[in-house]
Structure formats: C-alpha cells, structure tokens
C-alpha cells in the first residue's frame, strides 16, 4: 500500500492533514484574538469579518480597560498564587511519595497507587457539593487554601503516577554509587535522583499548573468574593461598565491575557523537559 502511493502525494497529504488540524485547533484562539481588537460598538452592531472593518479597530483599548479593572487584576493575582502554590506543594509531595513507591517495599503500596488513581477518576462536580458544605463549616470557604486543597487532591495522583514512572526508569546503581561514594540516603536522593528525574518533575508541574489554572467548577462554587476567585470564574462575572450589555471584546481581551501565564510557564518548563537525560549514565 505504502509502496504504491507516490511520495509527493503522501507528503502533501501529511501537510494537508497538519493544516486542517491546526486550523481546527487554532481557529477559536485566533478568533478570540480578533475579537479582542474590535471596539465594543462594532461588536454590538455585529461585525462579522475576521479583520475589524475600518473604524471598528480598537487597538489596545480593550486590553487597557481590562487591566485597569481591579476585579480582573485581583483575579489574575488569585489564579497565579493559587496555581503556583498548588503546583509547588503537589510536586514536592508527589516527588517524595513517588520515590517511596518506586524504590521501597512497604505494605499497602498497591493500595496507595490504586486509591490515587481512583481519586483522580472522581468526577469534579460530585465533590463540589460536599466541599461547599464542609468549607463553610470549617471556614475555608472563599479562601486560597479552600481551592488549593481540592486542586491538590486531583493533581497529586496524576503527579505521583507520572513521577513514579520516571523514578523507576532511573537505574538503581546511580543511587548505590552515590551511597558508596559517601552519600546519605537523603543526599543521594537530592543530588542524584532528583536531578535525574527533573524532566518528570517538570512534566508533573506543568500538568498540575494546567489543572489549577483552567479549573472553573471549584473556582466558581467555592468562592463568593474577589478574596479567592480565580480568573476563569471571574471572567464569567465580568460585566464591565454597562451591566445590560456584556462586553464581549473586553472579555476576549481578558481571556487572551489569562492565557499568557500558561504560555510563559510552558516555555519556561519545556526546556527542562529534555528526554533522555539519563543517557550516558550506564553502559558503553
């Protein structure tokens, strides 16, 4: 089959496929960017073109307006803080847990792993109701920890599974060599194992950050004020100056801004995710 297909046909087929998939994925993104540059009036009047018609172009006005909005700035701050803390805690705990799971024999190891998986499979909405009640009683409602904790309960299992797979890949000898060289278990872990598992750690960090950043259900149900409301929830409350006319172009600008941290994080971390870092450790 493959042998009978001409080469150029196959190659242009691949290219066409790529373009289609890209268009499919990127169209909404591009569209929202286009929206964010149109003026409010243009949108209310209906502005079907991709590029703003003459006179409809708003320049950076929408961006400036969103950014000047206190509610929005506060939400960005909440989101960044909550997501970062959830990520850090989750990765730190998961690293230790995954190491134990990969290296040590202890009773209930299988149980821990399957429980973790079970938790990760729980539908988010099923937890919202009980959490709402619990948090109100304990006083965690509408606070940062009130969001960080549920985020972690979903991201930890994922991080543990990812990381324990990474740890298992690291040859035992690395650690034993370190011990013979005079390292304590902790030193061997910190100076040899963790650097070697860095790609895994960063993968887990990105996944965790995504989850926390993109969450909407917890964000909208477990907060009531700007105290802790993260960006996805905040955008849905965003009404702008005129309560009867939802400011679509402002929202679009807000959405674009809120993806920036994600892009920054991915760019920062993806350099660290260098596959095959362990190559060269062993054999000739």
């Amino acid at each position: 089959m493959a042998a009978t297909t001409p080469n150029w046909l196959r190659r242009s087929g691949t290219a066409l496929g790529c373009v289609l998939i890209l268009a499919w994925c990127l169209l909404p993104v591009v569209w929202i960017i286009s929206l964010s540059f149109k003026s409010q009036i243009a949108i209310t009047n209906g502005s079907p073109g991709f590029f703003p018609a003459s006179g409809d172009f708003a320049g950076w006005a929408n961006y400036r307006d969103v950014w000047d909005n206190d509610q929005f700035r506060r939400a960005i701050f909440n989101s960044i803080g909550i997501s970062l803390i959830a990520t850090l805690l989750s990765v730190a705990i998961a690293t230790l847990a995954a190491y134990a799971i990969a290296r040590l024999e202890f009773r209930g190891k299988k149980l821990v792993l399957s429980m973790a998986l079970a938790f990760a499979m729980f539908p988010v909405v099923s937890l919202v109701g009980p959490l709402f009640d619990m948090w109100r009683t304990i006083g965690l409602y509408d606070s940062w920890p009130g969001l960080i904790i549920p985020y972690m309960s979903f991201t930890l299992p994922l991080a543990i599974w990812t990381l324990s797979a990474f740890f298992r890949e690291i040859p035992w000898e690395m650690e034993q060599a370190a011990q013979v060289d005079g390292a304590t278990s902790w030193q061997a872990f910190r100076r040899v194992i963790v650097p070697l598992a860095a790609p895994g750690v960063f993968t887990a960090a990105i996944l965790t950050f995504f989850f926390a950043w993109n969450d909407f259900v917890f964000g909208i149900s477990l907060t009531s004020t700007e105290n802790a409301r993260p960006i996805p929830a905040s955008l849905s409350f965003f009404v702008g100056s005129d309560p009867f006319n939802r400011p679509a172009s402002l929202l679009a600008a807000g959405a674009v801004i809120s993806t920036i941290p994600i892009i920054v994080i991915v760019l920062l971390f993806q350099r660290k995710i260098v596959a095959g870092l362990t190559s060269g450790a062993v054999k000739g």
């Binding site: 040899v192 190559s279 060269g280 450790a281 062993v282």
Partner: protein, 386 residues
C-alpha cells in the same frame, strides 16, 4: 570475610559459606560463570546487600551493620553508574564534595586523578558524550580520587570491545600496582582473572571452589569445575580406566609416571572411588609425535584427526572419540555449570605450527602424562593433587 552466607528473599542461597581473607594491598579476583554470586558477594563487601549470616571484617572491624558510606570503600560498577547530569570533573569530585572537602583540595585531587587516567581534555564534558573506554576511566577516577581503603570492581571491562578490554586490563593492573590498594575484582572472564590477580577465588553457585594463585589454579585445579573453567581453550575431559600406572583412554593406553600413579591409587582408596575416572588434559600437553625431536617422558597414541585450525604460531587439531554413557552424563552436567554449549565428544590438541598433520590424517599424538589429571566422576575431586 568469614563464612559469608547470603540468602535472597526467595530463600535462594546466592552465596553460601564463603570465607576469603584478603591481605593488605592484595589483588583478589572473584571469578565464576554468570549467576554464581560474584556480584552479590561484592555488594555485601561494600554494604549494598545485607549479610544473612557470617562476619564481614574490614581492617579488624566487623562491618556487617555499617552503611556503605561508613565503610570507606570505592566501587566501580559494571555499567559505571556515572552521574549523567554532572560533568566529568564533578563526577570525579562527587565523593570529595560529599566529604565537604574544600575547593582547592578537590581541584588538586581531581586534576591528579584525571592526569593519571588521561582524562584532562574531557573534564568539562558530560558522560553521555564519552566513549565506553572514557566512561570506564571516569568511573575509575571517581574511585581513586578518595583515599579509600579498598577498590571493588564489578566486571568493569565487560561493556568494552575486545581491544579496549586488553588495554584497560593492563591499565588497571598498573594502577593497582602503583597505588598499592587492596582490590577485589569480579569477572566472569578467566583471562582477566588469570592476568590480573594475585589470588583468584573460583565460585560455583555461591560456593567457593578454590582460592589460589593463578598458577596453582592452572596447574593444580582441585576439581573438575575449576579445571574446566580455567584455561582457554579449556581442558579436555576423557573417560579413563586406571589400572596401576596404565590409563586406558578412548584412543589407547598411556602410562602414568610412577609418582602420579601412586597418588591416584592412594586417593582412589581413600575416597572409595569405583568405576571409570575422568582424565583431564590441557590442549598444550599434547603434541604431534613427529615434531618432537628427542624422546620425552609420556606416551603416544594414534588418532583420527577431524579438523585442523592453523593459527601461525600453533595449530589446534580436533580428535573425535566415543564416550560411554555414564561419563557423558557427568560431562554434560559440567558443561552446563560452566555456561558452555553442549560438548561434542572430541579432544582439542594444540600442535606445533610446524606439524604437518592435516584433517583426515591418522596422526601419532604424544601426551604429557605427567601433567594429566584424573578426576572422580561422582564428586569431581581431582585425584592427582596432594
């Protein structure tokens, strides 16, 4: 090391009642086919494996319960176990950094080690970009940089190609002689064992067979296993019936020297051996009778030559023979122990290069009976060593 026993979780005795006393500055080799417990034994010395019973004593101190880092031993792993995220320099410096040595001393020591091992131009590279031989030297650098009480090597050369292996072997020998550090070296390669060791310990399925100098192992193996393991090409084993000094081999009868015959007779009586024995003769103790100018001790016999391999400096001839079943069984078992492929019942003889014997000839072969060993088929014990 005294009466070391190691049982793994599944109750399998990987090392059984091994006692080895390694003198200061000595180079001891642990050798045996793969799976015989060499690595396990080495890892017990360094502390990576718990000791089920017995005492591990280093420098007069029992170290059974000490962590690896408290034993001050340096180990080179089979796969080197270099730290891929560190440069060569930092790899070598790693033990010093852990010991909180100050930077100036670290630098001096690392540079000294790298000079010894000719790693100077690679210090800033990562192990992943080095060749096998260079990685091997980095691993050794990491071992020699700290003044450890002993070096432990676990098959350090098995990942290198044949040429490099020869070079590194000499290198290790030179290094050890120069530093004069006690060394325990694990290998499954009998050539390495013979060339490097002051003394060699041969292990079989976790049991120590013989601990002796290479020469003694070669000339006076205590049993069939050691005899078959040491030497290349390996010793030939033939069924033999002994009556006084007369030994009947499949090719004919040969005469044992008087002293050897007496030794065998004594041993047979002492151990209560009955039935046919197994004769062990190394290839070089045969010769083409026609190239021997003067009459020497020993006997000759005639045999059909199957194949001749001429190597320039010598030739190997293969002589097939018929073996009775009871002995074949024992020899097949031995071959399995030695990790070898199934043995064809043939004798390999090493001939002088000037020998004109060709395949298909019937040749007159001389045999040096004073170097012939006789083994008890049941226990494998060598009846010709005192």
């Amino acid at each position: 090391m005294k009466n070391i026993v190691k049982k793994y979780g599944d109750g399998f005795p990987a090392v059984n009642d091994v006692s080895i006393d390694v003198a200061d500055g000595e180079f001891v080799i642990l050798v045996g086919p793969s799976g015989c417990g060499k690595s396990t034994l080495l890892r017990m010395i360094v502390g990576l494996e718990d000791i089920t019973s017995g005492d591990m004593v280093i420098g007069g101190k029992r170290v059974n319960d000490l962590a690896p880092r408290d034993r001050n031993l340096a180990m080179v792993f089979q796969n080197y176990a270099l730290y891929p995220h560190l440069t060569v320099y930092e790899n070598i410096a790693f033990p010093l950094r852990l010991a909180k040595v100050d930077d100036a001393t670290v630098d001096a020591k690392v540079r000294e080690a790298s000079k010894t091992l000719e790693l100077d131009e690679h210090l800033d590279r990562k192990p992943g970009n080095l060749s096998g031989g260079q990685r091997q030297r980095v691993a050794m650098g990491r071992a020699i940089v700290r003044d450890a009480d002993a070096f432990l090597f676990d098959e350090p050369l098995s990942n290198l190609d044949a040429k490099l292996r020869g070079q590194m072997r000499t290198e290790i020998a030179r290094l050890q002689k120069r530093l004069g550090i006690t060394t325990v070296y694990v290998t499954h390669d009998q050539t390495e064992a013979m060339t490097l060791g002051d003394r060699v310990a041969v292990l079989k399925r976790g049991v120590l067979q013989q601990l002796a100098t290479p020469r003694e192992l070669y000339e006076k193996p205590v049993n069939l296993f050691v005899a078959g393991f040491i030497g290349s090409p390996p010793m030939n084993f033939l069924p033999a019936t002994v009556e006084g000094p007369t030994v009947t081999l499949p090719f004919g009868t040969v005469q044992l020297p008087e002293e050897r015959a007496r030794m065998v007779a004594d041993a047979v009586e002492r151990l209560g051996v009955s039935g046919p024995l197994i004769a062990g003769i190394r290839p070089e103790h045969f010769e083409d009778a026609s190239v021997l100018d003067t009459e020497r001790g020993g006997s000759t016999f005639r045999a059909q030559v199957d194949v001749v391999e001429w190597l320039g400096n010598q030739a190997y001839a293969y002589l097939p023979f018929e073996a009775p079943d009871e002995v074949t069984e024992q020899l097949a078992q031995l071959e399995r122990d030695l990790d070898g492929e199934s043995l064809r019942t043939q004798v390999v003889v090493s001939l002088d290069a000037s020998s004109g014997v060709t395949a298909g000839d019937e040749a007159e072969i001389w045999i040096d009976t004073s170097s012939m060993h006789l083994f008890d088929p049941a226990s494998g014990a060598n009846l010709t060593v005192g």
